[in-house]
Symmetry: C2
Subunit: 218 residues, 2 copies
DNA sequence: ACGCAAACTTGCGTGCACGCACTTTTACTG
DNA sequence: CAGTAAAAGTGCGTGCACGCAAGTTTGCGT
């Protein structure tokens, strides 16, 4: 495709980005997330605070990015890698599960941190939106040009489902927020590991994926 | 259900909320959206700036709320109002179309304003998330307790679809952003009125709604 | 009618996001 | 090997979001 050579400019940019991510995470772990100002992160990475905001739009994004960096691209690649024979719904589901189960030591620690602050939790959940564009691209590829529109909707729905799964997963056990939205029947199933939750959240969308896929094969 | 009498406290709160909304919209129309500070809105509504932020989390929300206020509730009610015989997918789609076609004079003017600033546009698009909880509730009601989980995913997906429809709809014609995400085949259909776009965006989800609905009828 | 507890408002202080104008660095061309 | 244009970094200034710790109002029980 389009990878001439990456050029010094781009490499420096990525280096700065990574420096900011790592500095943010390290400082947050060391002192606790509330004792880290943007100024500190910028200084630790050797750039000005203003430059920090050229890379990340909020204080939380850098910390969260240390966990989620590149996940969107990996999910898209994983979907594209599945043989064309398998159901699109399965390809997407498994790609998602696979990438979110990527539990490196670094990430486990960071996730623990993230659960402790709602601002971080929210920033983390917002990253699910990042998977939408690449997902749209790979889905569109399978559906053909007529399904470009559909691809967009399916990708957004999948992203929404993932968000829901994550939301439930990293909900701290302690809060009595579960019985909030329903008047009477409080028989909800609170359980499940992350892969289970992801699969369960994506399952209801499978018929939509199937229908879209079927439409292209006619 | 639960409407004892609303009480003075609550009525005052709503009054303040509405005062802020109206003040925000009026000032934005009068002077242009960039010439309105939170301080101005608060003053015009007779509260402190700090109180403004107890009601709205951003400067844009008040302006946008002047257009979207109560839409979530109306959509939910509209869905619940459809006879139990019609397809759930249709009920949701028509309820959404109905409520977004609510084109009062006030709103038309405000929408025009909103398109002129991306910050406003984004805030407006973010309000689609508000329909998710009420939609979850009415869908869950139709699906029964076993489908609570599914209801959540379907509601979120519908909200995402609506967002996509709106995004495309109020995209200013002038920007060459359309050919961005696709490498080669730039044959996209740019067209459509808002109801068309909404229906088109929700259509791919219909199979998922059908499947969920079918599952409860077994 | 009284008084208390909970809810709402407000002022203050802090850190943050970002537009703008300017300097420094990188890339490309003759 | 310039010279130049584009891009990234930076300092400054402004308005904003929000925690906190008062003050003020509303609701309710007795």
């Amino acid at each position: 495709m389009t990878t001439p050579p990456p050029g010094l400019r781009e490499r420096k940019k990525q280096a700065t980005r990574e420096a900011l991510r790592e500095a943010a995470l390290r400082l947050a772990v060391e002192r606790g997330p509330d004792q880290v100002r943007v100024e500190d992160i910028a200084e630790a990475a050797g750039v000005s605070p203003r430059t920090y905001n050229n890379y990340f739009a909020s204080r939380e994004q850098a910390i969260v990015a240390a966990v989620t960096s590149g996940r969107e691209a990996r999910i898209a690649t994983a979907v594209a890698a599945r043989p064309a024979g398998v159901r699109l719904a399965d390809a997407v589901t498994e790609a998602v599960v696979e990438q979110y189960t990527n539990t490196g030591e670094h990430e486990q620690q960071a996730l623990l941190l993230i659960t402790t602050r709602t601002a971080l939790r929210d920033a983390f959940l917002d990253t699910t939106a990042d998977i939408e564009p690449p997902l749209t691209a790979v889905i569109a590829e399978r559906l053909g040009d007529t399904g470009a529109h559909t691809a967009r909707v399916l990708a957004a729905s999948a992203a929404a489902a993932v968000r829901i799964a994550l939301e439930g997963w990293l909900r701290p056990a302690g809060n009595p927020e579960a019985a909030e939205s329903f008047g009477a029947g409080g028989l909800v199933v609170p359980s499940g590991s992350l892969p289970d939750r992801l699969r369960a959240a994506l399952a209801p969308l499978a018929p939509a994926f199937d229908a879209a896929e079927r439409r292209t094969q006619l």
